[in-house]
Amino acid sequence: MCGIVGLFLKDPTLEPQLGTLLADMLVTMTDRGPDSAGLAIYGPPTPGLSKITVQSAQALVDFPTLEQRLAEVSGGSARVAVKSSHAVITVASDRLEATRAALKGLSSDLRVMGAGESVEIYKEVGLPKDVVERFGIAGMSGTHGIGHTRMATESAVTTMGAHPFSTGADQCLVHNGSLSNHNNLRRSLARDGMAFETQNDSEVAAAYLTTAMARGRDLGAALAGALEDLDGFFTFVVGTKSGFGVLRDPIACKPAIMAETDRYVAFGSEYRALVGLPGIETARVWEPEPATVYFWDQRQAA
């Protein structure tokens, strides 16, 4: 199993509620996977600034001095906001790559969850209820977000094995299913320069989409390519800086339900995840078709 959720807002007045709505959706899906949980929240970007979400098993050791240790490489721009085992480092965008590279040398316990202009990613071993409380997800505002609660099949139950997987700036993916050609694809993507943190199949799917988009495809075209190149069972929900996509494999065993109103597009593994959304009673509710790409973009939706 595994439970996945996503929420893409069209109505900016809902943005302060994004965290609360998405957290409730994910907690409702708890029985679909008790191993680990994670969320990606996309907030409005601040011009000139980027964010790196990091996690540490030694947060009390690593985080208090992080800002100071990054001062030089970030040109003094680094600001660190700690949330439990995670910290969000805000830096000048032109110092993002240098800062990210410097993190590797700071502590062997520091792991990058994701980076970009708008995304923050929080994921840990444990139940959705505990994960959303630990990171204060309910208090977060944003334009769109995705979440996952995991029943592990393809790799170990660890923080890094939790979803969402982020393999490119402001990109992330959650997956329900299992891929059968991920080892081969990982080798081929690694030759193209992708770095992998885990042995997880879903990370390969994320890296596949990142590579496709780096070659100039939009999210919709990248997802269409995934139908050709990925073998196995999948329902994916994918976030980009301004976009939100859904894709199911042609067999479509893994459940999926969507709802759309004037105010939002929502995804859930089950209808139960959607019942708390405003106006769900009159929303258009449908099951996404197998082998069909769905995607929305803030720039087009606005």
Binding site: C253, P255, E270, Y271, L274, W286, E287, P290
Partner: protein, 228 residues
């Protein structure tokens, strides 16, 4: 009429009340409020009770129904009326995958669309879908009828045994060993009865095409035809 508000009452209380209706009891009409996509609503009914569910349900609603009449005023998640024995289940909205799977009897009516694998391994159930159905429907269907007023997805009737399939719209593709067969008078009569039972009044049996097994994948013996 007992009313169960699932926002306030555990699901198990509803299902136990349904199982506890004594033979010959008069108070057999139940109403269910706020199902909110819960799983296993009205599962295991084994008597002539009537259940009206006001809202959408999750997995396995009305599973194993034996004699009850369940109406869902909303949509149903995967596996609605799975392994139904007898009775009637009506879904006023859409149904997710494997609606009516392995059903042995009774009538399942879906007023919207049904997703993939509708009627998979059906063993005597009759299913009438007012809308369209998804891929791999009636896979390995053994007996019973699947009637579709709209279109059918890919691989209809793959590895079919003796289930009878009637589709009014287009069929995207037929599965292995499933072929179109002529509609004879007996099929039109059979279909007319099913349409009537499903409350379909504006559609005629002549509008449908019939599909069935070519009988090359399993050991069909004409001497045993009465047993199918």
């Amino acid at each position: 009429m007992p009313v169960f508000d699932l926002a306030a009452t555990p699901l198990r209380a509803l299902n136990q009340a349904l199982h506890g209706v004594a033979p010959g009891a008069n108070d057999t009409a139940f109403e269910v409020l706020n199902p909110r996509g819960q799983h296993a609503v009205a599962v295991g009914i084994d008597g002539p009770v009537t259940v009206t569910v006001r809202g959408s349900v999750g997995y396995y609603c009305a599973g194993m129904n034996d004699g009850g009449t369940v109406t869902v005023q909303g949509s149903a998640g995967p596996g609605v009326a799975e392994n139904m024995m007898s009775g009637t289940v009506v879904i006023e909205g859409d149904a997710s995958q494997y609606a009516g799977a392995t059903g042995r009897g009774g009538l399942l009516v879906i007023k919207g669309n049904a997703a993939s694998r509708c009627g998979i391994s059906m063993k005597g159930i009759d299913i009438v879908v007012h809308g369209s159905i998804g891929h791999m429907s009636a896979f390995m269907g053994q007996t019973g009828s699947l009637v579709v007023l709209g279109d059918a997805g890919e691989a209809l009737g793959d590895s079919l045994y003796e289930a009878k399939l009637f589709v009014r719209g287009s069929v995207k593709s037929l599965g292995a060993d499933c072929i179109e067969k002529p509609m004879r008078a007996e099929h039109r009569e059979h279909l007319a009865v099913l349409l009537d039972r499903a409350g379909v009044t504006d559609v005629r049996p002549e509008e449908f095409r019939r599909y069935g097994s070519a009988r090359t994948l399993y050991s069909f013996n004409i001497d045993n035809a009465d047993a199918y």
